[in-house]
Amino acid sequence: MERIAYATEEMARLWRNPSVRRLATLLFAVCAAAVLLVWGYIGYTSDRLRQDWLAQQAAILGRLAAESPEEAPRLARLLAHPERLSPEELAQGRELAAQYGLTEELEASLTPIVGKNRLRNGLLLSGGVLVVFGILALLLLREYRRELTTVRKLALSLENAVKHNVPMKFRLYGEGEIGLLANQAQELAIRLQQTIGQLRRDKLFLKDTVAEISHQLKTPLSSLAVYTDLLLEGAVEPATAREFLETCRRQLDRMEWLIQSLLKIARLEADALPLQLRPAPLGETIEQALDAIRRLAEERGVRIVLDESAAEPVSVPHDPRWLAEAIANLLKNAVEHSPAGSGSPVRIRLERTPVFLRLHVEDSGPGIDPKHLPHVFKKFFRASRSGSGVGLGLPLAKTIAERHGGMLTASLPEGGGTRFSLTLPLHPLPSPGSDETYESVSPDKGEL
């Protein structure tokens, strides 16, 4: 049963090729023509045979009629009704005929009727077969040439596309095997272009990152240089020296934080850090983030409230360490922009749809200025000076969200304040295939 199904599938696949269809029509037409011709010929040749045979018998009758008139009608009757002859008569007749050399060994050339027939048949049929096959061969050749020319064109076009990194000039859109090959070749060429483009972008990105890092480091570095120089000079009092050293320490911290964040973002954006996405309870991750921010919140006197929706146990595929960091960044931002006092807490709210899980961090602070909204996730962007950090927290959180197959958006809700929405798919989109081109340095640690 499966064999039949398989066989029919094979047939169907073959039939989808236009060349196969053309070939089939061709063969069918030639076959039909050949059969018709053969039929016609057979009719013609048997007619001739009959005529020749009748002529011979008539001649015999004529001679017999002249010599022994009473025998002639009998012979005629026998010729007219050969079914009346019996096998014994046949045997007898053969004996008699043998005496005259009329046996089966008699050469065909000596029996004029048969000889002529054989010659005629032989010549015409062989000739006919030759002609038919000749035509068939020509047509088949033409078909093959057509197919092969297409293949050749495709090959040349692909070669050109690869060499010069341009789209293919000759393209084919069709069903059948050649169409499939052409499609894959065309996709290959496009993919190639895209990959090269991507590589260029990656190079550019790297350049930009390096430039950013060096730019951001320039200030603290020069600051450090100045203070170190001053201390080296020695013309500094111990108290001031201590101050200087503390400043240097601060700058160093800042540089460390900067480099770490930048590298983190860079690695994430360049897809160099594969996240371990495992279904895990989100509640724990939120707890982790809360732990990180508790001290800051207490210092600032801002309350963080977990909505009852967040209390529900929910599981979503994510990397808890990274996601906790992202949530922590959001909370930090919210806390830093919230007024003190328990009257306006920072809320964490969960929203669930059939496809997504949304985690909302809402503060009731002044809210982001709408004209700053599009830029809030840009690196080093700081809407106000009221936050610590270098303006990398939100971009990092966004990148982490995107690596989770989700997204991070900021909006201004009706009641005022700011809302950050972290959207995660309950089941990540299937990956289009291995996109990893880099070896990860260390999959588990987020360090250099």
Binding site: A5, A12, P73, A76, R77, L79, A80, H81, E175
Partner: protein
Amino acid sequence: MKGYAVLSGRYLKQQRRRTALTVVGIVLSVALISALLTMGQALKDNTLAKEIRENGSFHFAYTQPDPGLYDRLKGNALIGKVGRLRSGAETPVGETYKLFVEQADEDAFALLPIHLNTGRLPQSPDEVVIEEWIAERLPGHPKLSDTVTLNGPDGRPFGYRLVGILENGVSTQMQRTSRAFTLLTEPAASPSAGQSDQLFAAFRDGVDISSHLPEFEKLDRPFATNQNVLALMGESADRNLNQVLTIIFGTLVGLVVISTVAVIYNAFHISVLERIRQFGLLRTIGATPRQIRHLVFREASTLALIGIPLGLAVGWGGLWLVLWLMIQSGFQILQMESFHLTFHWWIMGLSVGVGIAAVFAAAWLPARKAAKVSPVEAVKGAGSIVRESYRRARLPSPLRLLGVEGRMASSNIRRNRTKFRITTFSIIVSVMLFIVFHYFTQETFKMTVDQTENTKIAFELTRYVTLTAGETDQNGADAGVPDIVDAKQRERIAGLAGVEGVYGRYDLPSPSAIVPDKLLNPEFTRVSRLQFPQVSGDGKAQSSEVPVNLQLYDDGMFAKAARFLDSGTVDPEKLEAEGGVLLIQTVKPYNEDAGKKEILPLSRYKTGDVLTLYFGDQPGNAKTVRQVKIAGILSQSPFDSAYQPSALTVIGTKSTVAGLLEAAPADMRPFGTAMMGLSVALKDGADSEPVREALEKIAADIPGGQLVNIVDRQKQERQFALQMQIFVYGFLIVIGLIGSLNIMNTVQTNLLLRRREIGLLQAVGMTMGQIRKMASAEGIWFGVIGSFWGLLLGGALSYFLFKELSGIQGMPFEFPWGGALIACVFALGVGLLSVQGPLRKMARSNLIEELREDT
């Protein structure tokens, strides 16, 4: 899912109802085609077999051949069998019967219609076979192996051994002359003086008979062919019959095919229209036009795969069932002893081929249409609005008279010309099919079935009367001739169980009529090439002398004539009172030119005219001339032959005829108005045995009386008529079904497609009743237009068929009013009814659901 082609199966499943209807349509059509062809072929086969049985299987014969011809024929390569028949001397049996012993050789026994009842054929010149009925009358009532003394070929008595009993022939009984057969062994070359053997010859199998007949015709005269058998084989010199039959059956099958194609085309077209958005959607996803066509054709294939084998089974099985039922109820199929329903591969193949071709032809256009759908059309939304072109002036539709509903109906129809045309097309085809089939079957029925009362007559009491010269009574009739049975006995016979009627037979002279030339039909003269002798009756107008067949009917017979009354009255009392007669002026002469018989009127008399009759050959002699008033005109004779070849028929009551006979010379009317014979008609299904016994007794009492037993024949005739009717009406019912199916399918889907529109109308404020009125108006309009065109085309096609049928037998063309009326009423009715169903469904459904766009 294995491939996208699964879609076609799913679509079919979704539209279960429409799929089922379409499959039923295919099944019915294929069944009809195969049944028609099988029936036709079987009829032909069996008729041929019957004809061969009655006339023999020889192809041609020489009645007075030259002596050497036998040898020449025997030795001819083309000839298979040659039989010799030598006639013999007469042997009288009893006073009234004769017997001839004929000699036939082996081949002759094979070629001639000689059928054994029991025993075997003679194998030596001492043995003989004789007919059953004469065996009973021979002295000694011989049985098998007895010796029978009959006059041999030389005229002298010879004791033959009886080795076989032959079946009874009808004509031999009627003519009271029987034939017995013995073996002919003398060689052909030496016939006795004055005798020549008749030669019967048959060609070998495979010989083209018609092309070789002429050369054999030249060999010797007189030459005769086995006309009927050859004609049925299609080999007669006159190829007319076969050609005509092919054309007729071809037309009928063609019509059924067209109807099938129409049914399937409709179903497909509408199904495609319904899903046009889906097909457009498939195109947006990237299906090529070819793939869409493939889907539609796959649907068609599935339907064909289910429908065609089922159709074959139903057609074949249905026929078998009907025939089996008939045999069970004691019928003989169409007068044939053994009716074989042969399974012809070519019929099955043809039905399958036609079915497949029809399905695919029907699916082709819709497939193309589906493939051509522009993807945008599908995506844009439910249907595009067709703008009316204001260029052409339009005839206002009468629908507008029906108020706002009518106006809407008329606009709807106008807007959607294509759908309108599809719907009406199917109605037209259905109506046409019905009319043509009805016409054809009625005409064939008339042609092949004897519609006179003769089919009921099972027994004839006759007698052989010798005239004694002299005694005449005041009527001039021979006083010594009483009625064959007196009135009391006649009553008794009429009262027997199973007897339907008793009719008297009279032996009347034939007068002539003086018919003014202006009342003669010139067509008749042209067709028959008969020139009636001119007569100057009144001295004024030119008149012709036309032979007249005079008939005497008693009361019961007039009642039977009522069926055929064209004008006037058949009431015997009125006829008595006025001294009037009934006239039959439609005749059936043989048309030499066309080689067939034709039915046409001989004269153009009207009721109330006066007819001048005279007896003898002196039209001028006032004593022999009588005038009668024509009180009624019949279209054909209710008894005996329906039509005379070239004579008028005048029917009168006893007294009227008696009055007429006075004008005849005495020697012309020896029996006067005495009843010479009695025909006894049996009711259908009556037991004939008791009647036969009773009549035998009566016949024994009548001097010179004899009972002719034609019960079997009569039964066959009646059954033939009945069976023809069953088949005819069966076919008509199936055709009616197909037609109704077609109409129903189309009209309903038409409505269902406009669900949204109707929902809109409801939202605007139209009540369901108004909508129903509108839809009904549309339905009626479809019916009217469809009926109109169907009538026209049906009539035209019927006329075409009439032309073909006239090739077999000439007849007047009667427009099939009956069939047309039924068809039209039916079409209107079905159209109207099929509108109600979907409307009711729509009334129940939610308005908002309807308004939303369908996916």
